[in-house]
């Protein structure tokens, strides 16, 4: 219950923050609509009594009351829908913006890489349709309660026993909540089957998979699997549907009998002469209203029950993001140095991914001198990428620390530290913006600076790219948008490398397999430039270039080569040193070199 209220408060806060005037407006209009409906019954009572007593003006008053309330109801309804839609749109922008900043802004990758977090975030994406109007059920509930009170006031005036009528609403309410719990269980049971159906349908409707599906003739098989999963889900949900329908019908049957007992009471009093015929008419015409109120209450109760989970997930995300930010606020802040003097040191660094048991790095000690080009090699799963992730502060070491000129990087402000580094990745992002933007976002302050973007393309050995695009730098990239031009994988990678070149004076340039899809000439040109640039940068700021690769033709030109195996530095030295040592490096190098002889 306490959780329900705090969730409600959180939802109201979102709506309030999105649009104060319309929050109030939607509350008032939505609450008033049902009241106008209830009061119509009083008009009907007047009509009946007026007709029976032959009182023209009483009956006419009744008619005008009914007509006026109907008109008011119609206008209020229109206003309420209009206000609600607008509020809903304001709310969805706000919720989306919040969710976007929570997810994209939370430092670290844990929420992107842990399956259980990914599950939750995926669900939040779907639930935006349910959550986008958190205020409405509250307004509706309020309206129902107000109307219930108005109805009870009318009925109670006829006979005090009628005040017991709300009791008849208990069976449908209780049953409604039980049904909701039942469905929540079924939904969880079927979450995986539904996910697998979504994955299968995605395969059939997207281009990359489209190629293989045709070549291997898989369309029918995918459809068959979709159908068979669907049938299993449907069979179970159908039985739940039938059960829930019967339960609910029984509940509503109880309510109907309860209400009819009230009608019988009023009728018998009227026949006895204690109540007017008008009272019978009032009670009867309220019948439909009372039913509607109880329906809405039951629906809203079910809605609350259903969205508790959704709101819970949304709040979890807000909380996660806040904690992720707070965890990185340094207790003893230090400024990021202007230039590197000594270098970067891993001091007994151990690391285990959250939610797993096996350590990826164990007591890793290594020093990277300022101004050097360092290559990290090792087989799949050795921990190369993890090392890069720790330097970028996507994760924090579980033990030990990373020192920059003797200062633990945890003492830097994350933003300030990241501003002084740049990175390119093998699984780079294909950002579907204008070409200038897709490169330029590598340094937001210089986003609109054509000279800076051109220079970055040049540094990334992609100077020829704009000339091959129909509108040059102003070409929309990607097929997602009208007039967008899709690039080949290699061209996308050039854009990503150029993006990493946007920052001009980084202390650390981190390249995690950035050339996997590049052709030989580009790869060569790129490394020539890298090397030259790295040396110049090294002279100015002592910058370090760190390269993760298993292309030994590239690796060998580094100043220092580190061979990582099972989370430790196995070998270290220049290419010549390591070849002489005839260890793991020499073995892997020879393996690859053999292919070129």
């Amino acid at each position: 219950m306490a959780e329900l209220f705090s969730n409600l408060r959180a939802m109201c806060a979102v709506s309030w923050q999105a649009d104060k005037a319309r929050s109030i407006g939607s509350l008032v209009t939505t609450a008033l609509v049902p009241v106008t409906r209830s009061l119509q019954a009083v008009g009907f009572g007047l009509i009946a009594d007026g007709v029976l007593s032959g009182d023209d003006s009483k009956a006419a008053t009744g008619a005008l009351v009914v007509a006026g309330l109907t008109g008011a109801n119609r206008l209020l309804d229109w206003a309420s829908v209009t206000v609600r839609m607008r509020l809903r749109e304001h709310t969805i922008v706000l919720l989306d913006s919040q969710v976007m900043s929570y997810i994209a802004g939370a430092p670290g990758l844990e929420h992107h890489e842990r399956p259980e977090h990914q599950d939750r975030i995926g669900m939040i994406g779907w639930e935006r349709w349910a959550l986008n109007n958190p205020f409405m059920p509250i307004a509706w509930t309020l309206g129902s309660v107000v109307q219930m009170l108005a109805t009870l006031a009318v009925l109670g005036g006829l006979h005090p026993l009628l005040l017991l009528l709300p009791l008849a609403g208990i069976p449908p309410l209780v049953i409604g909540l039980r049904i909701e719990k039942l469905w929540e269980r079924v939904r969880q049971e079927h979450a995986e089957a539904r996910r697998s159906m979504a994955l299968l349908s995605e395969l059939a409707t997207t281009a990359p998979a489209g190629k293989e599906i045709r070549v291997f003739d898989l369309a029918e098989e995918l459809e068959r699997r979709y159908r068979s999963t669907f049938e299993v889900v449907d069979r179970r949900e159908r039985s739940v549907d039938v059960r829930a329908g019967l339960m609910s019908a029984a509940g509503w049957g109880c309510f109907a009998l309860g209400y009819m007992a009230a009608v019988a009471l009023v009728v018998s009093r009227a026949v006895a002469g204690d109540l007017s015929v008008g009272a019978v008419v009032v009670t009867l015409s309220l019948g439909a209203q009372v039913n509607r109120q109880v329906t809405e209450l039951v629906d809203n109760a079910r809605w609350f029950a259903r969205t508790t989970e959704a709101v819970g997930r949304y709040r979890w995300l807000a909380d996660y993001s806040a904690r992720a930010h707070a965890a990185l606020v340094p207790a003893d802040p230090a400024p990021v140095p202007e230039r590197l003097v000594s270098g970067i040191t891993f001091d007994g660094v151990s690391f285990t991914y959250p939610g797993t048991d096996a350590p990826v790095l164990e007591h890793l000690d290594l020093h990277v001198p300022a101004g050097s080009i360092v290559a990290i090699v090792g087989e799949n799963g050795a921990g190369k990428t993890t090392l890069a992730k720790l330097l970028l502060r996507f994760y924090e070491p579980t033990e030990g620390g990373i020192l920059v000129d003797g200062v633990d990087i945890r003492r830097f402000d994350v933003g300030a530290w990241r501003e002084r580094l740049s990175a390119g990745f093998q699984d780079f992002a294909k950002l579907q913006f204008l070409a200038r933007e897709s490169v330029g976002v590598g340094s937001l302050p210089n986003l609109g600076d054509t000279v800076a973007v051109t220079a970055a393309l040049d540094r990334g050995a992609a100077a020829d790219l704009p000339a091959r695009l129909p509108a040059g730098l102003d070409t929309q990239l990607g097929r997602e948008f009208d007039g967008g031009v899709d690039l080949s994988t290699g061209q996308w990678q050039k854009v990503a490398v150029a993006r990493a070149m946007m920052r001009e004076n980084p202390l650390l340039l981190l390249l995690d397999e950035p050339t996997a899809s590049l052709d030989a000439a580009t790869e060569h040109a790129l490394f020539e430039r890298f090397a030259g640039q790295a040396r110049r940068a090294a002279e100015r700021t002592g910058a370090i270039t760190l390269l993760v690769s298993h292309r030994f033709s590239t690796v060998r030109m580094a100043d220092v080569i580190l061979v990582i195996e099972a989370g430790r530095v196995l070998e270290r030295g220049t290419h010549e040193d390591l070849m002489r040592a005839a260890g793991r490096y020499a073995e892997l190098y020879s393996l690859q070199a053999r292919s070129y002889r």
């Binding site: 697998s196 449907d234 948008f481 060569h524």
Partner: protein, 604 residues
């Protein structure tokens, strides 16, 4: 058009689940007529009470009251019980229809043998809309709203029928007024919708930014370059740009709404006064007065256009889009014709003759007179700079697109005359963006040749040759492990591991009889050992199979029996590794760039 969609929806419903549809129809009629019955019974009860006052329930008049009370009770209870049953039937029907339509969509989209439509943003948009991904409204959901809308209309019509017994022209006047109200509100909504659609590109941009910020694909760059705030700002701008004119349009309906409401108020107020006057002048009894007054109000159901109607329109739009996609399929299938069998092809040669090609919607040609012979049973490597058209060549070869000009022949037969499905069956391919199927490891390999899926030994052999066998044996449930961490007991593979699985799939297809093997960058994610292992087995793997390798890694390329260099959509060099190195052209210099670093030292 919308009208025919409604009918289409009903027909789809009847096809998908005849029993449930009939049941839903019956319940719809019942819930449309029962409120009128309740009104009549209530009127009878009110009319019966007055004469019975003071007579007691035992009297004749009292018995009449009891009878009427019984009738009211019966109708009311039935109404209450039918409500949830209707919801249940709607729910079951919705799920069945959405399930059926989802498979129909899959069939429609995967039907054409070409993939041109899958790379067309307009089609992708439609697919998303048909799936209800844009606004959460599906065609199945429309069934619920349609039956609701029809039930409400039936209720209004029943009320008009009751009123016709009072004065014949009253229902006509009221009906006309309500029709005007309904039509106006619907038109207004359509105008608003049109504005939304005219801005759909901006809306798609907003959606793209939202996905970019919330999904892992761009997470690393987002963090390194601090892009979160920028994404959010752009999202807001795109969204607001879309919505501002929509809001203007919506608000412009305010005065009209007031006018329509006032008109209806006059009509309903007049009708009510007329009914009441008839009552007080004793022309009709109190029961009839109440019945007619209630009927005047109930007729308002005909003028109502509410959220449910909006959802109905959205759901019907999803159905319309699906139908458009389905209609496009036979056209696309026909356009990519050809009936000749492909058994045993190619025996001699696949020949590109003056082939020109450009992607739909692009201005420049990828190929402009490409000539190339691919000799059957040989291995051919294609090299070239980024964007030279290597992957496009492979797509044409697999007939995922048809050529624009010139022709491709297989043993002399134009590829366009060969049944595309049969030809594609001859091709085994792994593309750069190969698929990671969320199914068990065994199926991931067996998908290469479904007809032979039971041949576990052959699946294992293919895996061994692709270097994937060891990794499968380390999986928690071996071959039965689903390869998706989103599934129970599922395992997540690394990029290199996935590549080996994909390679195994293509090799399995070859072992099952595919005659052409296409490898588009097969080693990009492999580590040194796996890469070297593959080179060592390359000749063995491709022996006797027409093989086309696209790669930047000359270590792979040089093993091919023949190599062509592609530049600006043409073949500029052609020969064996030794020939091309000796010729000292483009290939030689590209090869030297990569290999020279291994030559510099004698020990390497």
């Amino acid at each position: 058009m919308r009208g025919s969609l409604r009918l289409d929806l009903v027909r789809q419903s009847a096809r998908t689940s005849p029993g449930l549809t009939a049941l839903a129809g019956g319940l719809l009629v019942a819930s449309g007529l029962l409120p009128a019955a309740l009104n009549l019974a209530s009127g009878a009860l009110a009319g019966a009470v007055a004469p019975a006052v003071g007579q007691g329930m035992g009297s004749t008049e009292g018995r009449r009251v009891l009878l009427a009370l019984g009738a009211v009770t019966a109708v009311y209870v039935v109404i209450q019980v039918l409500g949830p049953l209707r919801a249940t039937v709607s729910d079951m029907l919705m799920r069945r229809i959405d399930g059926a339509l989802a498979t129909q969509l899959m069939r429609a989209v995967s039907g054409p043998r070409s993939i041109a439509h899958l790379e067309d943003p307009l089609v992708l948009d439609r697919v998303a809309q048909a799936q209800g991904a844009l606004n959460g409204h599906t065609a199945g959901g429309a069934v619920t709203y349609l039956s609701g809308a029809w039930a409400v209309r039936l209720q209004g019509l029943a009320a008009l029928v009751i009123l016709s017994r009072f004065r014949w022209w009253v229902p006509l006047a009221l009906g006309a007024g309500q029709a005007v109200s309904f039509t106006w509100r619907r038109r207004h909504w359509m105008d608003v919708t049109k504005v939304v659609f005219s801005r759909s590109d901006r809306l798609r941009q907003a959606d793209y930014l939202r996905r970019l910020a919330t999904r892992p694909e761009a997470a690393k760059e987002t963090q390194v370059f601090s892009l979160a705030g920028w994404f959010v700002d752009r999202y807001r701008v795109s969204f607001m740009d879309t919505m501002r004119p929509v809001w203007r349009e919506r608000q412009s309906g305010g005065w009209a709404a007031l006018a329509v409401s006032t008109g209806l108020l006059v009509l309903e107020g007049g009708a009510l006064l007329l009914v009441v006057r008839a009552g007080t002048s004793a022309a009709i009894g109190v029961g009839a007065t109440v019945v007619y007054a209630q009927a005047v109000l109930a007729s308002a159901a005909l003028g109502r256009f509410d959220m449910d109607h909006l959802r109905l329109e959205d759901g019907l739009a999803a159905l319309g889009v699906l139908r458009a996609l389905e209609e496009a399929v036979p056209v696309a299938v026909e356009r990519m014709g050809g009936r000749l069998p492909a058994d045993g092809l190619p025996e001699r040669v696949i020949r590109f003759e003056g082939v020109t090609f450009r992607y739909p919607g692009r201005d420049e040609n990828v190929f402009d007179g490409l000539d190339l012979d691919i000799v059957a049973g040989q291995s051919l490597a294609i090299v070239g700079t980024n964007g030279a058209g290597k992957t496009t060549l492979v797509k044409l070869l697999a007939r995922l697109y048809d050529v624009g000009g010139g022709r491709i022949t297989v043993d002399g037969t134009d590829l366009r005359d060969i049944d595309p499905a049969a030809w594609q069956h001859r091709v085994a391919a792994i593309f750069q963006d190969f698929v990671q199927y969320p199914v068990p490891a065994h199926d991931n390999v067996a998908f290469g040749a479904l007809a032979h899926a039971d041949d576990r030994a052959a699946v294992e052999t293919a895996a061994r040759r692709a270097g994937a066998l060891d990794l499968v044996t380390t999986l928690p449930k071996g071959w039965d492990t689903p390869l998706s961490r989103q599934l129970t007991d599922g395992a997540d593979l690394s990029g290199g591991e996935w590549q080996r699985i994909a390679l195994a799939r293509a090799l399995f297809a070859v072992s099952a009889g595919a005659g052409v093997l296409v490898l588009d960058e097969p080693t990009a994610s492999l580590d040194v050992r796996a890469e070297t292992g593959l080179y060592d087995r390359f000749l063995d793997v491709t022996r006797g199979v027409t093989t086309i390798v696209v790669s930047h890694r000359f270590s792979t390329v040089r093993r091919a029996e023949r190599i062509v260099v592609l530049e600006h959509g043409r073949v500029v060099e052609d020969g064996s590794h030794q020939d091309l190195v000796a010729a000292g052209g483009r290939y030689a210099s590209m090869y030297a760039l990569q290999a020279s670093r291994f030559w510099e030292d004698g020990d390497g």
